[in-house]
């Protein structure tokens, strides 16, 4: 298949998903959460799982970008801006997901006016607001110089870039140097913010003693490692596809593969530890949770999706000598890992809730809202699919419009603005 066909397919899928998702979006605003299947016993569902999945991707991508902008690692320099861009895109998806989940999204400002400093959720909201601001600013300063250069091109692109830089024409090396300084400062601020933000989301779950499946000190750490592994994996596949990535980022993709392999191994270690300790402890609620994950109606989410396709297959591909040097295979394996982490998130949120708090609670009062059986509704699935579509379109727009810049090899400057010069793998 030619690159052109693949590209059309990419846009086609993105648009189709967004169209499907917009139906769910409209339904959400017209009917509220009536057509969502979660209830009062399993109060969080697919949308919360998708939210923590996307913020994990975002925090992970951002932390990889900090390897470039804080720790000055040359190996990842060519994908620094892409990592930052991925962090922004996935954070937008996360916020869209959680906004639909909130009963009153238009009351979100209450968290600023009526703050509860003891609430992990309040901290999470403040921190992701700060994080959003930092990464948007950082991305702007990373791209500013290239945008100014590119704004000289004619037509739509030139106008678009001029808007993005507010008409600035400053190409001086001093400003470029100060940009880099600002980026470094922002990235340095961003690292602890991202760690607190995402570790804080782990804490949001971990502090809840009412849910033994989550309760414990490992959760914030597990969230951070999962974020790094999933974010790194997403970056590997994106940097292989984005703007002729396989040619430009060949070695970086391989390096990301190694990084992800290590992170996935640590993640696996932590999960095995949680599982074995849980089983050995024989605490009824923990056992019920583990049984739901491994032998419940959605056993395949764990065995097939999370463990098989999301862990063992990519691990083999990243380890075997025959495949680990092939950037296409490495990127593909990382793609599997990135998708597999959605199953990890689902298996955290839903089985952790789908257990009766008191014996007989799910049968005491007949209602689909008062049951421990939860399957996402069509509207929930479509909404999340729509978010994936938005993500695809945003990446597509980024690949089309983002100035290449920062390329070690020569010849990048003329490439800017010459449409059709990018070839997707």
């Amino acid at each position: 298949m030619s690159a052109k066909v693949l590209k059309s397919a990419f846009w086609g899928v993105g648009v189709a998903l967004v169209l499907a998702g917009s139906w769910a979006w409209i339904d959400r605003w017209v009917n509220g959460e009536k057509n969502a299947n979660y209830g009062s016993l399993v109060p969080w569902g697919l949308w919360v799982a998708a939210y923590i999945y996307f913020i994990g991707l975002s925090a992970g991508s951002f932390l990889v970008s900090s390897l470039v902008y804080v720790f000055q690692l040359k190996r990842f320099e060519s994908i620094g801006r892409l990592a930052l861009f991925s962090a922004v895109v996935t954070l937008i998806l996360a916020l869209l997901s959680i906004s639909a989940d909130l009963g009153h999204p238009f009351r979100a400002w209450h968290v600023l006016v009526y703050p509860n400093f003891g609430s992990p959720m309040a901290w999470m909201i403040w921190l992701y607001s700060a994080y959003f601001a930092v990464i948007m600013l950082e991305l702007w300063f990373v791209l500013r110089y290239d945008l100014v250069v590119a704004s000289k091109s004619a037509g739509f692109r030139g106008t678009f870039y001029r808007m993005l830089v507010f008409g600035s024409r400053d190409e001086s090396p001093e400003t470029l140097a100060s940009d880099r300084q600002i980026v470094r400062i922002l990235a340095t601020i961003g690292v602890p913010v991202a760690i607190m933000f995402h570790g804080g989301v782990g804490a949001l779950f971990g502090v809840i003693s009412a849910r033994p499946a989550w309760h414990g000190g490992l959760f914030p750490i597990l969230f951070l490692v999962s974020a790094l592994a999933s974010g790194g994996a997403l970056l590997a596949i994106v940097s292989a596809v984005f703007q002729d990535g396989l040619r430009r980022n060949r070695d970086t993709v391989l390096a990301l593969g190694t990084l992800v392999l290590g992170l996935l191994a640590i993640d696996l270690l932590l999960q095995i530890s949680e599982t074995l300790v849980g089983f050995y402890g024989n605490e009824p609620a923990r056992i019920a949770n583990l049984k739901t994950i491994y032998g419940g109606p959605y056993w395949w989410v764990f065995w097939v999706w999370q463990l098989g396709l999301g862990t063992l297959v990519p691990l083999a591909l990243l380890v075997l000598p025959a495949t680990r040097k092939d950037p296409r295979v490495v990127a593909g394996a990382c793609g599997l890992i990135a998708v597999g982490f959605l199953a990890v998130r689902l298996n955290i949120v839903i089985p952790g809730l789908a257990d009766e708090q008191l014996a007989g609670l799910s049968e005491a009062f007949s209602s689909p809202r008062l049951t421990t059986d939860y399957v996402p509704s069509t509207i929930e699935f479509l909404f999340t699919a729509g978010l994936v579509g938005i993500g695809l379109l945003l990446f597509g727009l980024g690949e089309w419009l983002m100035p290449h810049g920062g390329e070690p090899s020569a010849g990048e400057a003329p490439a800017v603005g010459t449409e059709g010069s990018h070839v997707t793998a």
């Binding site: 009917n31 909130l102 009963g103 009351r107 014996a359 007989g360 005491a364 009062f365 809202r369």
Partner: protein, 324 residues
């Protein structure tokens, strides 16, 4: 053992019959609503309430509601000397109904400053027959939509045939002294009042459901904005009538997309009335009162040695006790 419980059941049934007769009286008579001296604030709210079932139930509990003679009829001769005689049974066996006693104690407690009251509920699981009258009364009182029951009755089967029994656990909010739901709320919409009641500010709640997740008793519900008559030819007007919780009128739409929970009927307490689940319990198995009052019935029961609390190990310190 089996004999004992059968006797208790009979006793409960005897009490129920009289209570049911009592409950039927005001319904058939359509009592006029009186803003009696027992009813303090918000007479407007009460006047509106007079149109529905809860008015009848509420008025019945009020000692000055013109129904006192009927209440006296509750004195049923009860077998004595069951061996496990406790304060509650003595109270029930006396001429005075425990409801009347609790009513007087409520009035006494409401005269104190709010911080000196400690509202406490005691549920006698040996007396509870699992009729779910409390569940239904609560739904009627608070005009609850589908999928929300502040006080379901959990049923468990214990043992195997032929040695088998059932245990009923009515589950209101525990109104914990260390409520896990309160610190997690990002906007401070849920809080503990000085009298111990854990309440929700419906206008402030953003609907994140973190409190539902954090509650170890499943005592919080999300209002999905559903109606019982959805999917029928017409939505019925009673479903659009306001909820009167916290002494305010909450239109149906104003409580959609937020978390709701049992609040010990604080709107009724303010009006000098016991919670709806207490006055409707057919076997007088639910007790309510002020634990700071050493003379109160709940204090007697809590200190009887029979009282336990759910999930004590979590350190939540519930204010709902069960007599086992």
């Amino acid at each position: 053992m089996a004999k004992t419980s059968r006797r208790k059941l009979l006793k409960g049934a005897a009490a129920s019959v009289s209570t049911l007769a009592l409950a039927a009286t005001p319904l058939s008579r359509a009592i006029p609503v009186q803003a009696s001296e027992a009813i303090g604030p918000a007479p407007g709210v009460l006047a509106r309430r007079g149109r529905n079932l809860s008015a009848a139930l509420a008025e019945r509990g009020a000692p000055s509601g013109g129904l006192l003679p009927a209440t006296h009829a509750i004195s049923v001769p009860l077998p004595t000397g069951s061996g496990t005689a406790v304060a509650a049974q003595q109270a029930a066996a006396s001429a005075e109904s425990s409801v009347v006693r609790m009513q007087a104690e409520l009035k006494r407690a409401m005269e104190k400053p709010i911080a000196q009251r400690k509202w406490t509920m005691v549920i006698d699981q040996r007396k509870c027959v699992g009729c779910s009258a409390c569940t239904v009364a609560c739904i009627a009182e608070n005009n609850l939509p589908p999928g929300i029951a502040y006080r379901p009755v959990l049923e468990e089967e214990i043992g195997e045939y032929p040695k088998v029994t059932r245990r009923f656990t009515p589950r209101p909010c525990m109104h914990c002294d260390e409520p896990p739901c309160v610190p997690v709320c990002p906007v401070g919409a849920t809080y503990k009042r000085p009298d111990g009641v854990v309440v929700i500010n419906y206008d402030r709640c953003i609907g994140c459901r973190y409190c539902i997740v954090a509650c170890p008793y499943g005592a919080r519900s999300f209002d999905f904005g559903e109606h019982y008559t959805d999917g029928t030819p017409g939505r019925q007007p009673y479903e659009e009538s306001p909820a009167l919780e916290y002494g305010k009128e909450w239109s149906r739409s104003s409580v959609e997309g937020i978390t709701r929970k049992c609040h010990f009927c604080v709107h009724r307490l303010n009006a000098g009335m016991l919670p709806a689940c207490v006055t409707t319990c057919i076997g007088e198995a639910t007790y309510f009162g002020d634990l700071n009052d050493p003379e109160s019935l709940v204090t007697e029961l809590v200190t009887s040695g029979r009282a336990v609390r759910l999930k004590e190990e979590l350190g939540t310190k519930p204010n709902v006790y069960y007599l086992v």
